[in-house]
């Protein structure tokens, strides 16, 4: 048995093992769960990194669950895949690697952070399930399997958002999130039903090869597009997101950013691989662009008036999601003509995907620093913070790094990806780039304000006893800071070896289909 062939399955099997065994391990002692959580998260990240390497060397990896051989998508005599196929191309591998890195960092952070609360074994189970759901959505090649993993991630996040059940706000946020996102998940199920009823297959590549854009296909497309945009938190379907991000424990909020990006991945797959035919590509592309513009602008303007630090960051997450939608939308609009695709389409998609990874890292770090402040100072209201840099210098400098990244200041990674998005969207229409830049300036203003009011200035007397957070929490934050530093210092290699292959994989609809269907239909 060659282990590297089984990497896609291991990627999902490891977090599930952690989830299933955490209640048993927790019967012994809390200490064991505190060991299990970071160790298995770290192993998952190692598997994801190995998978990313394997994909970048050997191309798209197929894994057929339960078949005689891992790569045997079509059994003899069949022209259709009948089993569940995990299809890991460059995009999936990149998203999985970035998501599992954030999961590892948050697991390190969670161990001391959750010590003040009971039910840690339940927390660990839900955490692992959230990771499994996120990774499953990113690597699966089967529409119904996508729905199942979407539900795992959703149900786990409902439980985690409402984990501090003593706070009425947490319960309220959990309820709102549950109602809204259950309906969205049902729409995904209906869409899978329509596509199955129309084509008799559930594999995404097989569906993509047979989409004829009849009425039922179009309805399925609209349902998928709308519900996944909602799960990704795009304006005007964002109302659940600030509540959920703001009320979840900080280590979960940081991971929820990556989980929303798994929905974003689903949205991109729907728009490109599933329905990216020339007939509807402009419609979908402009749809993404409009959603992106709305999210960018509404998110940042709502963020400026917030008084709770995590709620503010949540609105910024909406606004940053707008950049990704804008970039990918521009790419999809450009995909109609090969010349435009070559000149700016691929750059737009690459910039957007680069922004996806950057955002997972710096927004994760921002949420973790907010959690660290909350852990030490015991408040989440911005007007009750001040002069924290004196007692928490490490947290303050990490926050400054992440804030520079989200505002797009030149040497840091957020700048590179935003620049790529500006360049390419300017080529489509200068208006798009202008909105992007205004948003960026407002983001910078907002974060300068937080940094100034919370970390600088005179120390508030009631905060004089505040101490720096424990070492594992710092380690979690430092891991993300290292990732940001790496992405900032080596933009060239990262773009060339990781991001642009992913962009090409997303744009190449034929290759996605051919990987499963074996070329000719």
């Amino acid at each position: 048995m060659r282990l590297d062939e089984h990497l896609p399955a291991l990627l999902l099997a490891l977090p599930l093992l952690g989830a299933f065994s955490a209640p048993l391990v927790g019967k012994g002692s809390r200490r064991w769960v505190e060991l299990l959580l970071p160790v298995l998260s770290g192993l998952t990240f190692a598997v994801a990194a190995a998978l990313l390497h394997r994909v970048s060397v050997g191309g798209t990896q197929l894994y057929v669950m339960g078949a005689e051989r891992a790569g045997l998508a079509l059994p003899s005599g069949m022209s259709l895949p009948i089993r569940i196929v995990l299809e890991v191309d460059a995009l999936s591998a990149l998203m999985a690697a970035s998501g599992s890195l954030v999961a590892f960092a948050c697991a390190l952070f969670a161990v001391p952070y959750m010590r003040r609360f009971s039910g840690f074994d339940k927390f660990a189970s839900l955490y692992f399930l959230l990771v499994a759901g996120m990774l499953g959505m990113e690597v699966t090649g089967d529409l119904f399997n996508f729905f199942v993993f979407l539900e795992i991630a959703s149900v786990a996040s409902y439980g985690l958002v409402a984990f501090w059940r003593d706070r009425p706000e947490a319960i309220e946020a959990g309820l709102k999130y549950t109602v809204v996102s259950t309906v969205a998940a049902l729409m995904v199920l209906f869409a899978a039903g329509f596509l199955y009823g129309n084509h008799g297959v559930l594999n995404m590549a097989a569906i993509a090869s047979r989409v004829d854009l009849g009425v039922a296909d179009k309805v399925a497309m609209a349902l998928l597009f709308g519900s996944l945009a909602m799960k990704a938190g795009a304006v005007p379907m964002h109302m659940w997101l600030p509540d959920a991000y703001g009320e979840a424990p900080s280590c979960v909020s940081a991971l929820l950013v990556s989980v929303s990006q798994a929905s974003l991945y689903g949205l991109f797959r729907t728009s490109f691989s599933l329905f990216g035919l020339p007939r509807v590509a402009p419609l979908l592309g402009w749809g993404l662009v409009v959603l992106g513009l709305l999210s960018m602008f509404v998110g940042v303007t709502m963020a400026i008036v917030q008084k709770e630090i995590k709620r503010l960051m949540a609105y910024h997450a909406i606004s940053q999601t707008g950049y990704m939608l804008l970039g990918v939308g521009v790419g999809l609009v450009a995909s109609l003509s090969p010349a435009r695709m070559e000149s700016f389409g691929l750059v737009a998609i690459g910039g957007a995907l680069y922004h996806v990874i950057n955002h997972a890292m710096y927004k994760g770090l921002l949420f973790l620093t907010a959690g660290a402040v909350y852990y030490s100072a015991g408040t989440r209201m911005l007007d009750q913070m001040g002069g924290l840099a004196r007692n928490m210098p490490k947290t303050a400098s990490l926050f400054a790094l992440a804030a520079a990244a989200i505002a797009g200041l030149p040497p840091v990674n957020g700048f590179t990806s935003k620049l790529l998005i500006y360049q390419s969207s300017y080529a489509l229409s200068p208006f798009l780039a202008a909105v992007g830049m205004i948003t960026s300036v407002l983001t910078l203003a907002s974060f300068v304000k937080i940094f100034q009011s919370a970390f600088l200035g005179p120390a508030l007397p009631e905060l004089s006893e505040v101490r720096e957070v424990p070492a594992p929490m710092l380690a979690g934050m430092a891991l993300l800071a290292l990732a940001i530093a790496g992405l900032s210092l080596l933009p060239g290699p990262v773009l060339e070896h990781m991001v642009m292959p992913a962009a090409r994989a997303l744009a190449d609809r034929g290759a996605y289909i051919a990987a499963v269907m074996g070329g000719g239909m």
Partner: protein, 114 residues
């Protein structure tokens, strides 16, 4: 002579559930509405799998050869369990909301704004 009546049943169930989710003010009724929508999704999947004149896809002591499509039934099974899990969690949250706010009216459960 059933024609497309099953689809009509799916649509009626779906619209009832959607109406309940959107227009009811009581959290418990909203939860019921979601359950009704889940029922319509399950009915939809089963309806997709029907083949005229088919029997159940089980060979033990089967009497006729033609069978309905088995895949939608497997999917329905999965969807039912997922719906059950969501409903259980939703109702637990409703219990907590009632405990904190003393009401099930969503217009009074509004602490998070802006």
């Amino acid at each position: 002579m059933t024609g497309s009546m099953p689809y009509v049943a799916v649509a009626v169930l779906f619209l009832c559930g959607l109406y309940m989710v959107l227009f009811e003010h009581n959290l418990f009724k909203i939860a019921l509405g979601i359950t009704v929508m889940e029922a319509s999704a399950n009915l939809f999947l089963v309806v997709l799998g029907y083949r005229s004149g088919g029997g159940i896809p089980v060979y033990t002591l089967a009497s006729r050869e033609a069978m309905v499509l088995p895949t939608p039934q497997a999917l329905t099974l999965t969807a039912i369990v997922i719906g059950l899990a969501t409903t259980a969690l939703l109702l637990s949250l409703v219990v907590w909301a009632y405990r904190h706010y003393g009401t099930l009216d969503i217009q009074q459960i509004r602490r998070l704004r802006g």
